[in-house]
């Protein structure tokens, strides 16, 4: 999505950004609506419930591994891992709102990033 905005706007400014968002979105939205109708009709079936439970367990894993793959790059400057830890603690352990998480973690993030940019 963000990539669509960036690429679209590089080629054709704001219009390009809008065009690439629409192009990327409309097909999947229509498809997912078809799935929604099917869900409305068949979600009472035990087998459908099971399938969705299985897929959502995999889906969580996929999100986690997106994060972990990005995390691998951070090991070239391990101090940045501190930012990740602080963010996770703020969000998941102290259950702070997103605004607070960003407010607390970003000064540290910018400070360490500044050092990283001068070293790496």
């Amino acid at each position: 999505m963000n990539l669509a905005v960036c690429v679209g706007s590089r080629f054709a400014g704001a219009k390009g950004a809008i065009a690439s968002i629409l192009g990327l979105t409309i097909g999947p939205v229509l498809l997912v609506l078809v799935l929604a109708v099917l869900y409305d009709h068949y979600s009472y079936l035990e087998s459908v419930k099971g399938v969705l439970r299985g897929i959502s367990a995999v889906g969580v894993g996929l999100i986690a591994s997106t994060g972990l793959k990005m995390l691998r790059d951070e090991f070239q400057y391990p101090a940045m891992l501190l930012v990740v830890i602080v963010t996770v603690l703020c969000a998941s352990y102290f259950h702070l709102g997103l605004g607070w998480v960003v407010l607390i973690a970003s000064p540290l993030a910018l400070f360490l990033a500044w050092n990283k940019a001068h070293k790496v």
């Binding site: 979105t25 999947p28 939205v29 439970r53 959502s56 367990a57 986690a64 969000a91 973690a105």
Partner: protein
């Protein structure tokens, strides 16, 4: 009509903070939709999350389905538009701002800092969503296996989704 307006406004506000991608903020979305607004119950939210994961396309499809649940086709389009427009405008200007920075170190710093924050948010998002939608040891085992295999193999995610679907179909999860 008022629920449609509230859907639009709440999701637009959510989109403003979610410019790092919806998956980093799924717990926030869950909290908004299930606990605060009572648009949907937790089970339906997890089911929609599963459908959105299995379907091709951008990762905000959970939001599209949420809109569908509340107000049919119109709701789906309103929700999709609401989740897309603020973050798109923000990214558009953010990109121009970052491209406009002359000092390469400054530019690098901002990118490194944003990346580290995004990683933290994505990881805690996965953690919290897992706590909400995984029931039982088998579900966690499947989640962990997915993580391990996606990190150490190059298999396409769709294989894992298909595997999850089959395991679920036979009642293992």
């Amino acid at each position: 009509m008022s629920i449609l307006l509230s859907l639009f406004l709440k999701l637009s506000a959510f989109s403003l903070v979610a410019f790092g991608g919806v998956s980093a903020l799924l717990p926030v979305l869950l909290n908004l939709a299930v606990n605060q607004e009572h648009w949907i119950d937790l089970q339906t939210f997890s089911d929609y999350f599963a459908i959105a994961q299995a379907a091709p396309g951008p990762n905000f499809m959970t939001v599209t389905l949420l809109g569908w649940h509340i107000y049919g086709v119109i709701g789906a389009f309103v929700a999709t538009f609401a989740i897309a427009w603020p973050s798109s405008i923000l990214i558009y200007y953010l990109q121009r701002f970052i491209l406009g920075i002359k000092d390469p170190h400054k530019k690098q710093s901002i990118q490194y800092a944003a990346a580290a924050l995004a990683i933290g948010l994505v990881l805690s998002s996965a953690w919290e969503i897992a706590l909400q939608i995984n029931h039982g040891v088998a579900a966690y085992a499947l989640t962990l296996a997915t993580i391990a295999f996606t990190l150490f193999t190059r298999w396409h995610p769709l294989y894992f989704i298909a595997l999850g679907a089959v395991l679920g179909l036979f009642g293992f999860i």
